[in-house]
Symmetry: C2
Subunit: 116 residues, 2 copies
């Protein structure tokens, strides 16, 4: 389980960590019952603070994507199913957007505003 982060991005690190997990869940690389690597482990390999990772995990918990308990860790829930169902559609849309020369930020912003 690999969590990617771009230190040069203007997107907060905690948001990138959460986004990375979401993308893995959507792609089927994370299934219900799977455990995320411990926050301390991720913090160590990314060379960021423990709390930064925990904030990302708590965001995922707030969305219902993971269950968290001390001692046990963060475990993926059944709530990832909707993400997986949307995966193909999201990939198709992003490929179309790329072909049209749009940036990730622009498309994400457009999606968010259209959703409201």
């Amino acid at each position: 389980m690999l969590i990617r982060v771009d230190p040069a991005s203007d997107v907060p690190i905690f948001a990138q960590v959460a986004a990375s997990v979401r993308a893995d869940a959507a792609a089927g690389r994370l299934r219900p019952g799977d455990r995320l690597p411990s926050a301390r482990e991720v913090a160590g390999s990314l060379e960021v603070n423990l709390h930064t990772v925990l904030r990302a995990y708590q965001e995922l918990r707030d969305e219902g994507l993971v269950d968290m308990r001390r001692g046990r860790g963060a475990v993926v829930t059944d709530a990832v199913a909707p993400l997986a169902q949307l995966h193909d559609d999201v990939v198709a849309l992003t490929e179309r957007a790329r072909a049209l020369g749009l940036s990730p930020d622009t498309l994400a912003s457009l999606v968010k505003e259209t959703f409201r």
Copy 2:
């Protein structure tokens, strides 16, 4: 031309202003040649600072969506065409996401991470 902003949102105001314009362009409510309301006008009606609106406009200019010149204002360019082309797909995706119980932030984040 109406620009909407949610003061309670955690999304920066300038980003919301830019997103609002993008959504209008994608929906065909803004066409090439149309002029955005002046930054001072928007700042007044939203009760925010002039610079906050200008930062949003400059973001749109950086994306090539508008041309800006002093005295003339911000004018929509042909670059809105890609947004309009994607509009139906974005609407379809967001409706599917809503039916699955996803939040705008979650979907936007997923789209952005999938795009990378």
